[in-house]
């Protein structure tokens, strides 16, 4: 086993991981680089991915709810807030995937983890959707 694991308390490190060809795993942009990290880090990365996906779904649910409920706002206001919410949901979904890829590769290469790129944009877009719906829509 060429890699050094920070913690090997679970089981004796066998050759089971290195015997599996890493070329079968996709995307190659991730798995063609570096060495197998501690599995717990990969699992944590996966949960972060899922958290972003759920955020995207929550925003999408909000966008759909603007249409579903008969709000006392004009069609234009509803469409703008729904559009902004679904656009931010799209942004979250993209962050989920690309963040997962970049983090997994950084873990494999022992590099510093990438920063979160969409936080400020996401906050701005969601805030504008809320402002449109609450302030402009209530006039």
């Amino acid at each position: 086993m060429a890699t050094t694991r920070p913690l090997t308390w679970c089981c004796p490190v066998s050759s089971s991981v290195s015997s599996v060809s890493s070329s079968k795993r996709r995307p190659l942009w991730v798995y063609d680089h570096g060495d197998e990290p501690d599995p717990r880090f990969s699992l944590a990365n996966e949960r972060t991915f899922l958290a972003w996906i759920r955020t995207a779904l929550a925003l999408l649910a909000g966008a759909a709810a603007v249409h579903a409920f008969d709000l006392d706002v004009s069609d234009t206001v509803a469409a703008w807030s729904s559009g902004l919410l679904s656009a931010s949901g799209l942004l979250c979904a993209l962050q989920a995937w690309f963040g997962w890829m970049r983090t997994e590769r950084a873990l494999r290469e022992g590099q510093a983890l990438p920063s979160n790129g969409v936080g400020a944009v996401l906050a701005a877009v969601v805030a504008s959707a809320a402002i449109i719906l609450l302030i402009i829509g209530s006039r």
């Binding site: 991981v17 996966e46 999408l60 249409h67 989920a96």
Partner: protein, 117 residues
């Protein structure tokens, strides 16, 4: 080789995270499909097809996490042989991202059509 339990319960937490994400997917997918039948006619076909696609995707992925299968790209099952053999890749995350993105695009297009027309 005795198997020491993982005090952090990483696999269990990840499995539960997959389950609640799939549940959210099912709920939101159904809500979007239902909205499609209420909304204007042109969006119905696209959205319904997307909903069916995501439901199919959901069932396939849940099958993958069932017991007795060699789990490779979904949540690990209790029969996972050893902690080091948790081999996962990006297939299911990519499918999930694409489905979520397409659903978002459908709702976005619906809002856009309201603004245009």
């Amino acid at each position: 080789m005795t198997r020491t339990p993982d005090p952090g319960l990483q696999q269990e937490r990840t499995r539960l995270a997959w389950r609640r994400s799939m549940l959210a997917f099912a709920v939101v997918g159904l809500a979007v499909v239902r909205g499609a039948f209420v909304e204007s006619a042109e969006g119905i076909v696209i959205l319904a097809a997307l909903g069916v696609g995501s439901a199919l995707f959901l069932s396939i992925s849940l099958m993958g996490s069932g017991p007795g299968r060699r789990v490779r790209w979904t949540a690990p099952s209790r029969r996972e042989p050893a902690f080091q053999q948790v081999l996962r890749d990006g297939t299911l995350p990519l499918l999930m991202t694409i489905t979520a993105a397409v659903l978002c695009l459908a709702v976005l297009a619906n809002a856009f059509s309201v603004l245009i027309g």
